[in-house]
């Protein structure tokens, strides 16, 4: 699958996902390389604010694994996920546009 098409499919899959009450509202993703040259799919997710200081650990792990499995399914490299709470959206350029 063309990487651009795969990234689009990945974003379509991710937006709207809800795991353990944590919903994904927006997605930004691109292909990159690790320091050792290994390809990686960088994923930035705009999600619900946590109810307390952070999200439930099991929820975050489940969300990352779900996205990891989807990336494998459509031929994208392993994912590296960063979570942005809605209240901090203004501080992340990609979600301001």
């Amino acid at each position: 699958m063309d990487p651009g098409v795969a990234l689009k499919e990945f974003a379509d899959f991710a937006v709207g996902i809800e795991v353990g009450g944590l919903k994904v509202h927006k997605v930004s993703s691109f292909l990159d390389e690790r320091q050792d040259g290994e390809p990686v799919t960088r994923v930035l997710l705009l999600v619900d604010d946590p109810r307390e200081e952070t999200w439930e650990l099991d929820t975050v792990i489940e969300l990352r694994r779900l996205l990891g499995r989807k990336a494998i399914e459509i031929g994208l490299p392993s994912v590296s996920v960063s979570l942005v709470p809605e209240s901090e959206a203004d501080s992340v350029e990609t979600f301001v546009r």
């Binding site: 690790r34 650990l57 590296s80």
Partner: protein, 184 residues
Amino acid sequence: MPTYPIEPGKLLETADRLAPLHPGRGRPSYTAHRRAVSTAYYAVFHAITDRVAKAAFTEADTAFLRKVQRWVKHGDVRMVAVWVSQLEGITAGSPPRHIDALLRPGSGEAHIDSDTLVIADGFLELNEKREQADYDHDAVFTRPDTLSHIALAKSVVARVEGTQTDAAKRFFGLVAMRSNIQSR
């Protein structure tokens, strides 16, 4: 003579200080978030190297173990963790055929249990984030995401230090076998 050992628990306390759950006035800077994630990763890394050294040298004293711990490289742990993650379908690709056959023999149970998966998966996540924290100027480290990574590191360190499962011991043993004797 005083010693200054690297202790996973102390590293986690440092990560907590860099990104406290309940900060006072003013929030920690994003630089503090980066340092917190990197420090939390090192807590996991050193907890693993401790188990790896003890897996290889079961009767050795502390001084000996500390020396051989230095020979365990990040890439050694990462490689074995990637094999586990690939076999569980979380990371892309497949391990070499002989590793697949070793960890997932044709008959009997796979040598991967929940402890091993938590350790392998958590290590890979934190290893990746540590690299971003230390080198990637464009990486984003929000406060809740940083706290989540510290929580992950605490969970993984507890699992590394506490597990006695056969599968986890095989994991530490494989890391030991990937590690080479260094020149110092």
